[in-house]
């Protein structure tokens, strides 16, 4: 029984909401297993630091030393430059203590501090820009900085995307809740994975199947992309938060894991504009939440590198900066088909204009039908029941 100010709450209303979340796969088996987590039976090696424990210890050390690294929300990976100095100082102090204890022969202390120091560096690399003495390593995706929801896509584009590709959809980086609602309206099962909690929470609010998770980690975790085979379409809805190297990895992982005839759609900026993705964006790129405009030519090149075929629909467009490709071979019947999502599109084109490699990508023109899709893309009205998940 739940009482609010002494009055009993109608739990049926709450149960209905729980059931809806179950029906929309938000309350999935992983969450149910987590709710039954056995803490008492958990065996923990105190010398094997967990990430949370390491951060907690570092936080305690900072606090004890008066280094103001408050709050420990620095775990959220949004440390700024003002935090950099105390963090480096503490790592330097730790290093000194490791050396001192080593010199004095305190083996146990040395091992402990050594572990703490090594893990501290690893944590620091995740939290801040690599500095002097810290080796550069892979960083987590910047996130959690933009407090505004991403702008809704054009209704035409949403309609076009909702009709593109096979029935079930993996939305990799969540573009806007309207897109997810469109998938829901046309009865296409989907899973949206993103690391911007704002878009994910908006989906959850509407009982749409979204998960807050690092999307690249989600793809990496799937052995040989096996988890992707169940999807008829993979949509990279908000690639602007990925660094070029991360976008490339995402496209490669998707290409490796998608089933034949599945469609990969990537949101790009309007074609015909200059992009500089190949060389990065300068120092501002390191700012969390930095958004990178990706243009069709760059994305097309990544797709070709990943072994995908670009099927062009709509009027041709000069690619400009992308080097000419080899003469494409005729696609095999079971060949994977990829398309770059346009920034604007109307109803899905009924017929592909040409399967001409990636030499030309449609250029948006008002009133023309443009949507990239595979020549063999399944129509909206013919869902594939076997793809249910």
């Amino acid at each position: 029984m739940i009482g609010l100010n002494g009055r009993q709450v109608n739990e049926n209303l709450l149960s209905v909401r729980v059931d809806r979340r179950k029906a929309h796969a938000l309350l999935d088996p992983a969450v149910e297993a987590g709710l039954a987590f056995d803490l008492e039976g958990l065996v923990v090696d105190p010398d094997n630091l967990t990430e949370s424990n390491l951060l907690f210890r570092l936080w305690s050390i900072f606090a004890n030393l008066g280094a103001s690294l408050e709050p420990p929300l620095a775990y959220d990976k949004d440390l700024t430059k003002e935090h950099l100095t105390p963090l480096r100082n503490i790592l330097r102090r730790l290093a000194r203590r490791v050396i001192t204890s080593s010199g004095e022969g305190y083996l146990q202390q040395q091992e402990y501090l050594n572990a703490l120091y090594v893990r501290g560096i690893a944590a620091a690399e995740k939290l801040i820009e690599p500095g002097p003495g810290l080796a550069a390593g892979p960083r987590k995706l910047p996130d959690q900085i933009c407090f505004r929801p991403l702008e809704a896509w054009e209704p035409e584009l949403i309609r076009a995307m909702a009709a593109l590709g096979g029935r079930s959809v993996l939305v990799f980086t969540v573009p806007c809740v309207e897109m997810m609602e469109a998938f829901e309206r046309v009865n296409r099962p989907f899973l949206a994975v993103g690391n911007r909690d704002l878009e994910v929470s908006l989906c959850q609010e509407r009982f749409l199947h979204a998960r807050l998770e690092d999307p690249l980690e989600f793809l990496r975790r799937a052995p040989a992309g096996a988890a992707l085979t169940e999807y008829g379409m993979v949509l990279l809805g908000a690639p602007e938060f990925l660094r070029p190297v991360e976008l490339s990895e995402a496209i490669h992982l998707a290409a490796a894991g998608m089933r034949p005839k599945a469609v990969l759609a990537v949101k790009v900026e309007k074609a015909g504009q200059e992009g500089a993705q190949e060389t990065g964006f300068g120092p501002e790129e390191s700012e969390p939440g930095f958004q990178r405009p990706y243009y069709p030519d760059f994305v097309a090149r990544l797709m070709i590198e990943a072994g995908l075929e670009i099927v062009v629909e709509g009027p041709p467009m000069a690619l400009g900066r992308v080097p000419a490709p080899k003469e494409p071979e005729a696609p095999a019947a079971d060949e994977q088909v990829a398309g770059a999502g346009a920034s604007e599109a109307s109803e899905p084109a009924g017929k592909a204009e040409a399967a001409a490699g990636y030499q030309e990508i449609f250029e948006p023109e008002p009133g023309t039908e443009r949507a990239s899709s595979g020549a063999e893309a399944e129509p909206e009205a013919s869902p594939e029941p076997e793809e249910e998940f």
């Binding site: 739940i2 609010l4 729980v18 309350l27 987590f37 803490l39 923990v44 424990n53 929300l73």
Partner: protein, 356 residues
């Protein structure tokens, strides 16, 4: 006529120490000579109290009153037993050993000793519980019904009004995410794992834009497992272990909190509930031990840990201003029950016969 108080620890920010100070201040204001003695004292305690050994010279007069605050097993229980003065015990409760057994057998043993020693107080002139729940435990230990009473704590929440919050912390927490707060020691009876489970449901199924903040000093073997649990459940960075926080930090946490949740299964009073009341934070609490008494008919109480249902209830509190306002209004009303005036009124009602 002098009144002496004897404690295990006399420390800043400790609920038992605060109560001893309140009694001391109330007695002093009425012209009664009052002293505080403790087994251990921190720098704050040393400014207001004395080591227990100093009580020895007063123990044999037989003319004074000794108030013993019992919250943990401590050797100075012998001082209480041997004192010739009239004696009152204020029972703050001791956590049952079963909560600590899986994590720290030594602490479990101390708890067991503490609870087993309760019948040794039955020779006191009066037994007071800081809640009715505690009073009943005294009766079960052998006190007669008529020889017991209830003296609820006066939570010193007014002190927060003069504390400048930690601005940096408050700004960081005011980023639009739902802040779910728990304040208290990270020990097994508080059932932090249940709080993490509730948060798991809420975060994964209801609102990804949320975080769980745990403020309080930890029992290490317990927090190690909790931190592993948090990592295994993919909640790293979303469950914040703040450790013991300063007053400015505590104020910042309460000001930024959207809801306060307690899953605790054993509380003798639970002061943080009243602190949340003071800051206008809606409270959701599991009905256990003295918690329902402290809550009264205010806030949200539940007697079953059905995480999905509770997660949805929490969402209602967070999203529906009317629910929130109604809850907070009732909590404010409830807080008045623990004002200093009410505390002193009850205190002197119990002490009256001893002070004349």
């Amino acid at each position: 006529m002098r009144v002496h108080q004897l404690l295990a620890r006399f420390e800043a920010g400790d609920a038992v120490s605060n109560m001893a100070m309140d009694i001391h201040d109330a007695l002093t204001a009425r012209g009664v000579e009052s002293r505080i003695f403790a087994h251990s004292l921190d720098s704050f305690g040393l400014t207001r109290g004395m080591h227990e050994s100093a009580y020895g010279s007063f123990a044999k007069t037989g003319e004074d009153l000794l108030i013993y605050h019992y919250s943990v097993w401590c050797d100075n229980l012998a001082l209480f037993e041997s004192s010739k003065n009239r004696r009152i015990v204020i029972y703050h409760n001791i956590t049952p050993a079963k909560f600590f057994e899986p994590y720290d057998p030594q602490i479990a043993e101390i708890c067991r000793l503490g609870r087993e020693a309760l019948p040794r107080f039955t020779g006191a002139n009066l037994g007071l519980g800081v809640s009715e729940y505690n009073r009943r435990e005294l009766v079960r230990a052998g006190f007669s019904e008529t020889n017991t009473g209830v003296l609820p704590i006066h939570p010193p929440v007014e002190r927060f009004d003069s504390v400048e919050p930690d601005g940096q912390l408050e700004r960081k927490l005011s980023d639009g995410r739902a802040n779910i707060l728990f304040v208290g020691r990270i020990v097994p009876n508080k059932k932090i794992e249940d709080l993490v489970r509730l948060f798991l449901y809420y975060h994964r199924c209801v609102n990804a834009r949320s975080r769980l903040i745990l403020a309080g000093g930890p029992l290490y073997p317990y927090i190690l497992r909790l931190q592993r649990m948090v990592d295994d459940l993919g909640l790293t960075g979303r469950v914040l272990f703040m450790g013991k926080v300063s007053e400015p930090q505590l104020v910042a946490l309460y000001r930024a909190a959207d809801v306060y949740v307690s899953m605790s299964e054993h509380e003798g009073f639970c002061v943080p509930l009243t602190e949340a009341f003071h800051f206008g934070v809606p409270v959701m609490a599991y009905t256990a031990a003295a918690v329902p008494e402290t809550m009264g008919r205010a806030g949200i109480l539940f007697d079953e840990k059905d995480y999905p249902i509770l997660g949805e209830m929490m969402d209602r509190v967070l999203r529906e201003p009317a629910v929130r306002e109604e809850t907070v209004a009732a909590q404010r009303e409830r807080l008045a029950n623990f004002s200093r005036e009410r505390f002193e009124e009850r205190l002197f009602r119990h002490l009256g016969v001893f002070l004349t």
